[in-house]
């Protein structure tokens, strides 16, 4: 009995955390190259509807996830062309991407409201998946949960250990120096931005195919923005993203659970809280976390990519 509650709690938190982790990992890699893409929310929404529509028509959630990746990349490509080739302001372009993605997903999704799909298949390893507690948590998840974990550890390894990761960090640290040595700054930033788009697309697909198995307008409800805040929270270190994403996943799940219960039980006292206040918790927590991290200006300066958000145009 207690065991079942614990397992269901952990599974729920993982479900709430995974989209944050996917999107934040993508954005972290983008930002490491010196590009600030504020369009995470828009890319997630487009990924969510493309993945959902694909799953409705083909019956395959995995194919849906794949196309969501491509859709996220297509969105990121728009951003990259505007900011990297046409040197548009990254903040404004990111906002435009979110506004556009919100509209596009709502337009495409209008005919899918009320439709449901089968949830993404979960892993079943005979024997292993039946182990109490560990079984369902370690061996019973859907593909995207595993991908999110592989991605975050992969990103950590890539940035710390691989030469290409070193090049990526170098481009974000000083694009002028990287250019002078002969690295194709713009090309590397294109790739990093596209990777970010792919991960956001995947995060969106997780929302519509695993988290809720239905489509609703604006269904990401600010998760893209929270993912952006998580990158700051992690001070651009992937392993800390894992901590942040699961912390926020817990807060989101907690807020849902309190709403479902209709009240909060505190040392046996029943406290009725307005559900809107509870819903506001993740947003308020985001603000708190941002403040807690950002107040250490030296730490932010030391860890933030020095060229973050700065346009690069090679002369000659």
């Amino acid at each position: 009995m207690d065991q079942a509650i614990i397992v269901s709690f952990i599974l729920s938190v993982m479900t709430a955390s995974t989209p944050l982790l996917l999107a934040a990992t993508g954005e972290l890699m983008t930002e490491k190259s010196g590009v600030l893409n504020l369009g995470v929310e828009g890319m997630m929404l487009v990924g969510a509807i493309v993945g959902f529509a694909t799953a409705v028509h083909t019956g395959s959630a995995l194919l849906g996830a794949l196309l969501a990746v491509l859709a996220g990349m297509a969105m990121a490509l728009i951003f990259a062309v505007l900011t990297l080739t046409f040197l548009a302001n990254q903040v404004a372009t990111g906002l435009a991407l979110t506004i556009f993605g919100t509209g596009l997903s709502a337009l495409v999704g209008s005919s899918y409201v009320g439709t449901a799909v089968e949830a993404m298949p979960k892993l079943r390893v005979p024997g292993l998946s039946d182990i109490p507690i560990i079984g369902p948590i370690v061996f019973g998840q859907d593909a995207l949960v595993y991908i999110s974990l592989v991605a975050v550890f992969g990103a950590a390894w890539f940035l710390r250990r691989s030469h290409r990761g070193l090049v990526l960090r170098a481009v974000g640290d000083s694009h002028d120096a990287a250019h002078a040595i002969g690295y194709p700054v713009i090309l590397i930033r294109y790739l990093a931005t596209l990777f970010g788009g792919a991960m956001c697309g995947l995060a969106g697909a997780y929302m519509s195919l695993a988290y809720s198995t239905s489509w609703a307008e604006n269904m990401t409800a600010g998760r893209g923005w929270i993912a952006l805040a998580l990158v700051v929270f992690a001070t651009w270190r992937p392993i800390w993203l894992l901590v942040g994403a699961y912390l926020f996943g817990s807060i989101m799940y907690g807020s849902l659970a309190i709403q479902a219960a209709g009240a909060l039980y505190f040392f046996g006292q029943k406290i009725v809280v307005p559900s809107q206040l509870v819903s506001a918790l993740p947003y308020l927590a985001t603000i708190l976390v941002l403040v807690a991290i950002s107040r250490d200006r030296a730490k932010i300066r030391l860890n933030a990519p020095a060229c973050l958000g700065r346009p690069f145009h090679a002369a000659g």
Binding site: T85, G103, S110, A280
Partner: protein, 369 residues
Amino acid sequence: MGRRLHRPGGVMLLRLEPRGQRSRLWSYASPLLALALTVVTSAVIFTVLGKDPLESLYVFLVSPLASATGLPELFVKAAPLILIGVGLSLGFRANVWNIGAEGQYTLGAIFAGGLALRFPEAPSVLLLPAMMLLGVIGGMVWAAVPAYLRTRWNANEILTSLMLTYVAQLLLIYLVTGPWRDPEGYGFPQTALFSASATPPILVAGTRVHLGVLVAFLVAIVGWIVLTRSVIGFQLRVLGQAPRAARFAGFSQDKLIWLSLMAGGGLAGLAGMFEVSGTVNQLTPQISPGYGFTAIIVAFLGRLHPIGVIFGGLILALSYLGGEAAQIDLGMPNAVTGIFQGVLLFFLLACDVLILYRLRAPKPVAGGA
């Protein structure tokens, strides 16, 4: 492994060449080019959706203005966009990215609406100015949070102001479903209707053009003077273009951040006040069709210039009316409006490159690649 990364070039079909001087021509022509490209792209989108592109464009862009009520409605819709847009453009000039105007608008509506509900019998000459003041204060209170967090704790105002938008929306829902719900409203999430004395006067008989429209235009003119003629406006522009130069000149960054956010928040709050009192007449969860976000596009379309914002506001107001018309006449989802707005902003940002750069076909280089 590195070799593949190091191939020269990138994704560049055309070369950008710095002009050295900013082009006067293109600072005016780029929004027009962006508009033209957006219209063409919209036609393509309509075609993809299986509609006749010309007819759709007519419905979307012309039909809303064809009727007698069209033009006045345009001004009514544009008023909040202009109000918010002017405030945002002052901030954006200073690189203060307040993107939570939607929440500040909501708070302004809540503050002013609360007053209207509390004192329905008060005479209009007292109640309306008090509501305007409270609307401004409401917006400022909500914008003060990101301002404080940015200046005191270095927290990014983009994320904090946006998070507060979600909180504002939840607060509004809480109020209209809870303590402020109209007991005679059959359980609908809405407050009672405001009294007549809480309604701003109509300026043109037979239309919905209310006092707020006039105020919006006046605010734009004042904003224009502030930005181009005043020391404060100069300080905002220097801070945005060269923060170190602002420091060198002795302009306080913190003061200017506060000022930007107070201007943006106050005007958004005022827009919220006029919208709920002038057109909606009560508080409901749907008091804004995203004015706070659309005003960001308005600000950019207007070149972050208060007079330009008037034109930007009118054009985006048209996109709202067009979206409604397309929904009724063509059976298209309302979301078309959002796409039109997003595409417009994309093209605008892309065309702006022409102000500082000229496009050149890559020339074959003698002795080069």
